[in-house]
């Protein structure tokens, strides 16, 4: 629980340093409610030192480093042992992917050096995850959740701006709407599974 609160605060601090509008805090808060990793930390209460010594969800010959830092692990299928995950869910929902990529695009092309700090944080997170992958455990991947959360928030914020802008073309607005629709659907599905499938019991 303490770790969940700490990571949440860190995310809020980073986002507030990058973006001015106050509604971004609400956006960040809502998005965090839709992230499996936060729910796992609060409800699952996993042991942080459980080793991921077996080849869990990636193919049998993969190394832990490449497995833990893969899109598949982060967005589709994370570790489910010892309450460290929810089956068929990654650390984030799949609908976060486009927002994450858009957020990454924004930070890379931005002239504001504060944005580059987030990318640096992501690279450091990847490095720390790789270093800790042998000992395993949920702790080894938690280094990534803050930068990815922030980048996804920036991405969703940008998508929201595009949706509300009159200059945005219909195809882009349609894509954004579909993405938000998918986000709502996946969040509802996540809570349905938590309530009825009871993955942490």
């Amino acid at each position: 629980m303490i770790l969940a609160i700490l990571l949440t605060i860190l995310s809020f601090l980073l986002v507030s340093a990058l973006q001015k509008p106050k509604y971004i805090y609400l956006l960040q808060f809502l998005l965090l409610l839709a992230t499996p990793w936060l729910i796992i930390l609060i409800l699952g209460r996993p042991s942080l030192n459980t080793p991921i010594s077996d080849k869990i969800t990636c193919n049998q010959t993969s190394s832990n480093i490449s497995c833990l830092t893969s899109f598949e692990f982060i967005f589709f299928q994370a570790d489910t042992r010892n309450h460290s995950g929810i089956k068929d869910f990654g650390l984030f929902l799949p609908s976060f992917i486009s927002a994450f990529l858009i957020g990454l695009w924004i930070t890379i092309t931005s002239k504001n050096k504060r944005y580059h700090f987030v990318v640096l944080l992501l690279i450091i997170g990847l490095g720390l995850t790789a270093l800790m992958s042998k000992d395993g455990g949920l702790l080894s991947v938690l280094w990534l959740v803050v930068p990815i959360s922030v980048l996804a928030t920036l991405g969703f914020h940008k998508m929201l701006s595009l949706l509300l802008s009159k200059r945005t073309g219909l195809p882009i607005k349609s894509f954004v709407l579909m993405n938000f629709g998918l986000l709502v659907y996946e969040t509802a599905r996540l809570y349905q599974i938590i309530i009825f499938h009871k993955p942490f019991s």
Partner: protein, 571 residues
């Protein structure tokens, strides 16, 4: 086009050498699909019909996977020149590989040094970009794997690389659009995945360059018409026999796999009996499950594991102890991607489009990540890597005030080490560690069978590990017309969607070759894997006792026994 430099010519010479050196023997063995392309080419050359007697088909029924025809067509002149050998079968892919290497030179030049004048690095460094991209592709493990084997995608890549190049050139000289059309049509005749990727790629290119294309709309319309005319025969063939489309799908598509059904069943079960079924179907339904599965499989193609660490675990596309590209490429690719995003230009979007669309077709199969189906990624990855290298040389030379040639030399040494490791893994480790994945030993097996079979009325061959009939046909250069007269085809597909040949001539191919149940005769030659044929005495349930005489053992390069050829003596 600019005159190629001496450096470029040297790189091409290297590419040719790497692709034809010992082509007969590496990869070790002749994979079943390769044998099928070769034999069907032989059959078309001799009789004008494929192995099933169909005259010049637009899809080859083969093992029930309905192979696209282009590779087989291109193999015909090779077989005419070099006879039905491994070299002749693989030569078209090797030459296509060289043509792709040449293509990436001109593609890189067109994107970064053409009228676009995208001088990211300044003229001094930009000049080397095409040559570096060419060199990287020439020594690319991923590209070499498919240049040195007849696996459809090597030739597909050639068509698509030149198709994209001609498309970009058409923005300055319209007539190139017709050539682009021909190339893209050629790709559709070459590989299944192109039937999905080409339309998406063309749609994407039209979207990116819509303003430029609108200015030459007449040429665009005519070239589109040309492309449509060229693919029309294939469309008619598919409409005439839908099995040519669905037949292959059944062997690989996720829509024919039971995995999603199982997950759905589990989800509904966990909902509990009191949960409203309609609501249950809203949360757990096929459309969402398939969408998620497709996205998951798509993302696998961009994983570090697939690209740099392990590669493709599915036979025969894995190179032992390494990924599809060099680990040293990783930082350069990321740098290249950073540059492309930063200097956002339309022409750079075109090859990024290729990178993003390449894994789409593969994502609809249950065998992912797939080195062959996502092969088109290699072009964009190579260009990104070249960009990253140039940027690194320039930045390090300027930052540390050292001669750029020293930096270049350092990077060159890193790649030389990686390349040496690849050469070891490919030429030494592959035959020792995974010869069975390339169906090693079939040539020797057929030779030994041919020596022995005269003394026996029947030859019973295990159908395990690939369709044995095709190697018998290939290595015996069996007369296609006689084969068609005697072949017994089992048109009921197996659980993977493949059809089998039950027998031809005196050869019988037994599925589920089980020594205890197989019919025992002293006038029969038995051919099977090491574990399928016992040594010594064997007692039947009826009480008959036979001595199993092992006539030959075919061994893998690592010394393990692959096959046994045996006959029986009644005691």
């Amino acid at each position: 086009m600019r005159k190629p430099s001496i450096l470029f010519l040297l790189v091409i010479a290297l590419a040719v050498f790497l692709r034809v050196y010992q082509l007969n023997n590496f990869p070790p063995g002749l994979y079943s699909d390769e044998a099928a392309y070769g034999y069907n080419a032989y059959s078309l050359m001799k009789t004008g019909h494929d192995e099933y007697g169909k005259p010049w088909p637009l899809t080859l029924k083969s093992f029930g996977d309905y192979k696209p025809p282009m590779t087989t067509w291109l193999t015909i002149p090779s077989i005419a020149l070099f006879d039905l050998t491994e070299f002749a079968v693989r030569l078209p892919s090797a030459l296509a590989g060289v043509i792709s290497v040449i293509g990436i030179y001109y593609l890189t030049m067109e994107i970064f040094i053409g009228s676009n004048k995208l001088l990211i690095f300044g003229k001094k460094y930009n000049e080397y970009l095409p040559v570096i991209a060419t060199l990287l592709l020439a020594i690319s493990p991923w590209h070499l794997l498919f240049s040195r084997s007849s696996m459809l995608v090597g030739i597909e890549l050639m068509f698509i690389t030149w198709g994209l190049l001609f498309f970009l050139k058409a923005l300055r000289k319209q007539l190139h659009l017709y050539l682009s059309s021909v190339c893209f049509a050629g790709a559709i005749y070459t590989y299944y995945g192109s039937r999905i990727i080409i339309p998406l790629l063309i749609a994407g290119l039209f979207l990116i360059f819509r303003k430029e294309l609108w200015k030459i709309k007449k040429t665009v319309s005519l070239s589109a018409l040309l492309g449509l005319i060229l693919v029309m025969p294939l469309i008619f063939a598919i409409l005439n026999d839908p099995e040519t489309l669905t037949g292959r799908a059944k062997t690989v598509s996720i829509f024919y796999d039971s995995g999603i059904e199982s997950k759905l069943w589990e989800a509904h079960t966990l909902n509990g009996p009191d949960f409203p079924p309609v609501v249950g179907r809203f949360f757990h339904n096929k459309p969402y499950f398939y969408l998620k599965d497709i996205l998951r499989r798509y993302s696998q193609h961009f994983s570090a594991d697939f690209l740099f660490v392990t590669g493709d675990p599915h036979p025969p596309f894995d190179i032992p102890n390494m990924g599809n590209i060099y680990l040293i490429d990783a930082p350069f690719i990321l740098l290249g991607l950073f540059l492309v995003i930063k200097y956002n230009q339309k022409k750079t979007l075109s090859f990024l489009l290729l990178l993003l669309s390449a894994p789409i077709a593969s994502s609809f199969t249950f065998v992912t990540p797939a080195t062959n189906r996502a092969f088109l990624m290699v072009i964009a990855i190579t260009i990104l890597s070249a960009l990253g290298i140039i940027y690194s040389i320039k930045t390090l030379a300027n930052s540390f005030k050292i001669n750029w040639t020293l930096v270049a030399l350092f990077i060159f040494v890193l790649y030389t080490v990686s390349f040496s490791q690849y050469l070891y893994n490919y030429f030494i480790a592959t035959p020792l560690e995974i010869p069975e994945k390339w169906h090693y030993g079939r040539k020797e097996l057929v030779e030994k069978i041919s020596l022995k079979e005269g003394s026996f009325k029947k030859v019973v061959v295990s159908d395990k590990g690939g369709p044995p009939y095709i190697w018998l046909l290939f290595y015996k250069r069996y007369d296609p017309e006689i084969y068609r007269l005697t072949a017994s085809v089992n048109n009921i597909p197996d659980k993977f969607g493949f059809i089998h040949i039950d027998s031809f001539d005196k050869y019988t191919f037994t599925r589920n070759f089980n020594w205890s149940t197989i019919q025992k005769n002293t006038d029969t030659l038995y051919v099977g894997f090491e574990e399928e044929i016992p040594d010594g005495l064997y007692r039947e349930i009826s009480g008959s006792i036979y001595r199993v005489i092992i006539d030959n053992k075919i061994k893998y390069p690592n010394g393990k026994t692959a096959f046994k050829i045996a006959h029986l003596e009644k005691i």
